[in-house]
Symmetry: C2
Subunit: 187 residues, 2 copies
DNA sequence: TGTACATCAGTGAACGCGCGTTCACTGATGTAC
DNA sequence: TGTACATCAGTGAACGCGCGTTCACTGATGTAC
């Protein structure tokens, strides 16, 4: 085996973050062990500490990564809608509230519980706070010019609430009403 | 010490559930140990298993208890508003989105992550699902007759989303917009 | 009502498992000359 | 460019701590007669 090259090591590090993000998003942080993450990244657990100081450090980084990815996806979805002369907000809402998200579930919902319990200077919570702001900014960017900032916040909260209720109570009935209301509101 | 009377034992059991509910709501289930719960209930950890088969059993019961209490409180708040000729929905929303909840934080938010990860027949998830339905029914009961059921669901989701975002991102800016929108919607 | 015995709520110590973290080691990579 | 040495990414076993659970035990409660 022996030492990996710098470039290889950096690739491995990224693989760890990606694997961890996928696992944390679907299962939460606590039930996923370091060994699970490293196995998913194709390595053994001992190597973990060459890249991260501890599990918490990885969690914070994975949280940040999840939000980055989400912002990317949201912007792509909205821009694709604009190109087709569709309303980007409708596109975002439909995308966000689709029962089977194409890549991953919403990091706002996935990391909410863990972030809520941490102190103000905890790395995970900082990543979460920044992530929420980033996602909201990406969302607000596509709001109609005439909508107040309070309306945008409310709409955003509705999306998140619907998603959380649908996913944790496993009742997809929470998905439809918002889309309906939005459509009704415009006519 | 010796054996406690049946009545005493039942009282103790209830004390355990109440203590666990308070701890789980504020800290989540995982970080709270059996010893913590029993200590809060004024007993030692060994006695726990006279009342519950395991920690999961307690978690499910505490979750159910939290929802029962929440329904009670919601109904009281709404009824008090009605008696004063106020809109019960406004009262519920204001109450639910107050920064310092008088008794406990919302069980929908507190148990969401844990409930989401469990299988369909898991006791905790059953308690959660039933609890959400119960709270929603209590809410819908006070909706204006002319509002569609989709509108009520949307409003409910907005409340929950606002609360979750405010509490996990520690940004109370999520509290105000909804109250504002509701007021605006009526005029 | 009183007595003898069985039950069982609660105690506190101990067990044992899972998992985060550490550690000695390997050998390819990076560097100095 | 080649050689000798230092570095350090990754391995896999072992450690150790926390915590859920078990267990022998105590003595008041419940019950049978």
């Amino acid at each position: 085996m022996g030492r990996s090259s710098r470039k290889q090591a950096e690739e491995n590090r990224l693989r760890i973050v990606k694997a961890a993000t996928a696992l944390f998003i679907t299962q939460g942080i606590e039930p996923v062990g370091i060994a699970d993450v490293m196995k998913a990244a194709g390595m053994t657990q001992g190597g973990f500490y060459r890249h991260f100081t501890n599990k918490d450090g990885l969690a914070a980084e994975a949280c940040g990564f999840a939000f980055e990815k989400a912002v990317e996806i949201w912007k792509r979805v909205a821009n694709e809608a604009v190109e087709k002369n569709h309303d980007p907000m409708d596109a975002l809402i439909s995308f966000y509230l689709s029962p089977k998200p194409p890549i991953m579930t919403c990091p706002m919902v996935a990391f909410a519980a863990d972030a809520a319990l941490r102190g103000a200077d905890d790395p995970l919570r900082r990543a979460y706070d920044g992530g929420v702001r980033g996602l909201f900014d990406a969302f607000a960017e596509f709001a109609q010019a005439d909508s107040s900032s309070a309306d945008v916040r409310t709409l955003f909260a509705t999306m998140v609430g619907s998603n959380m209720l649908a996913r944790s109570s496993h009742d997809e009935g929470w998905f439809a009403p918002l889309k309906q209301s939005v459509v009704a509101q415009k006519s």
